[in-house]
Symmetry: C2
Subunit: 317 residues, 2 copies
């Protein structure tokens, strides 16, 4: 369970703003989810109205803060969504919009970073709150978390792990490069490659993961190998305590973790691979991270218990 | 100039324990180097005795702490040099040895991380104390610095950037892998590849860097391309504010920086490359970093001015 800092009282509202659905929750200090609401996501201004109305419906007199997890390019310091293709948002001052509407402190965090914070918070005893989270979905994203804090980067674009080149001169990627990890290891690429090679055209990545068709095995193994190479590069540079796999492909469970770990170890001749495991929070990670940043915002403002009992918030990088 | 935290008075002793020479200095609060001593490095127990005697000779009544920068695998938390091949040290409790001898707080930091700290401290206004430092010498090492603190990693092996695979199936590396960055872009590899291809067998990497021989240009360009690819991977994941090049090869100046930046940009189709620049401290970076960690140790112990005027130290990850 992802818990709030001790000494903060009340509730927070946490919303995971996904491209498919908005998942809202009201969460207590101990991390207990008291109420949840899920609605299909609209586009553009409609989606903004949905976020506002979801926050209003979940907030009550004891709500101390709001946390929002949003996909895309997010400037958390200013609370601005710089670009979210699936939502049709560009340079949207989401923090101020919600804060003005609700009169509460609001924190906006990118969804992958929010998920990484939540996984690291769960894991603080094990990996010391440091890990590399990789989200394998339609695309491939990641976040590097140190001591519970995600690396945001100088231009807020850290974690674009899908565009690490794993096969120089390889398959074309949507980003304009060739050989990107995402061209081999995203759900979309796995399905596309399997179909193009003559596989059953109705098969999804999830089905390819569990198929015994030699073609499916090959496409899946190539995805694991590309991921293993990219993870080897990250391991060599950062020596993470754990590598955590999330996103739709992670539903393949050990069919994903085992070949990825094996491939990572094969591509690290001189050291042991770090542990590779599945996300513990799964599809709830974004929302749990949104709750976490809301609690931090509440603690920072001294909401709730007297200041002496409110721990200093972990400041963002 | 790398300065001490405000409010700490006195001097620190800083020693950069290199494989070739020990560079010791006595440094004041403002970062001024008051005295330096350099001696050729012995091996094993001799090198330990040299460190102790250098520290004794530089310390005085107003010395508040000692900082040591050491190559190899360094556990800074415990002050233990786990392995330093060039010095013949293994599992050496260097911090306690020096602390017992001098009766002062001692901090031991790995030399690349020490250099990264010092570069970041100089740069705090520009890149916010966050950067990727790459040391191109006989081997290739690196450190990732966030907010002035280097990433140490779960097993203290972060920064082994020389063993990022840039050419899958490529040249054999000493680590047992194929295609490592170090097999293309270290000074030793550049010279070896040039000689093996029929180039002048007396030419050093520095000479190859400035040669107009087409073979030299090709070997140098291949080094820059391997480095550009490895840096592109790190940029995509971490979005660093700056990439800083150090070590012997950095003496090539713009002959190194320009092709590396160009290659990095060519391998990042979808975003601008971060700035690439030379180390500002050059061969003094390790010693400056040793002074910095010494000042931090002094501040942490409340040495010097009254506690209220001593800033909280930056804690290690
Ligand atoms: Zn790409
Ligand atoms: Zn290697």
């Amino acid at each position: 369970m992802v818990t709030a800092p001790l000494g903060t009282d009340g509730y927070v509202v946490a919303v995971d703003v996904g491209g498919t659905s908005l998942k809202g929750a009201r969460t207590a200090t101990g991390g207990e989810v008291l109420e949840t609401v899920e609605v299909p996501t609209g586009r553009g201004a409609d989606a903004v109205d949905q976020v506002l109305s979801l926050c209003r419906s979940l907030a009550g007199p004891r709500t101390v803060a709001v946390g929002l997890a949003v996909p895309g390019l997010v400037d958390s310091d200013r609370g601005v969504v710089r670009y979210a293709a699936n939502l049709g948002w560009r340079d949207l001052p989401l923090r101020d919009l919600v804060a003005d509407e609700l009169g509460l402190p609001v924190t906006v965090e990118q969804d992958v970073r929010a998920a990484g914070r939540a996984e690291a918070a769960l894991d603080r005893d094990g990996a010391g709150g440091s890990l590399l989270l990789v989200v394998l979905g339609t695309g491939v994203g990641a976040t590097v978390v140190f001591d519970g804090l995600p690396v945001v980067g100088d231009t807020s674009t850290a974690g674009e792990f899908g565009h690490v080149v794993t096969r120089p001169g390889g398959l074309a990627c949507t980003c304009g490069q060739r050989g990107c990890l995402e061209a081999y290891a995203s759900a979309a690429s796995i399905a596309r490659r399997y179909h193009a090679a003559g596989g059953d055209r109705s098969a999804t990545a999830a089905e390819i993961a569990t198929s015994v068709d030699p073609l499916a095995l090959q496409v899946w193994q190539e995805a694991a190998d590309a991921l293993g190479l990219a993870l080897a590069g990250a391991t060599v540079l950062l020596d993470p305590a754990a590598i955590v796999l999330a996103g739709g492909l992670s539903r393949a469970g050990s069919r994903l973790v085992d070949p990825v770990h094996r491939s990572l170890q094969q591509q690290l001749a001189w050291r042991d691979a770090p542990p590779v495991r599945l996300s513990r929070l799964g599809s709830r990670a974004g929302q749990a991270g949104a709750a976490l940043v809301a609690w931090e915002a509440a603690a920072a403002l001294g909401t709730g218990r007297p200041a002496g009992r409110t721990p200093a918030p972990r400041l963002r990088r």
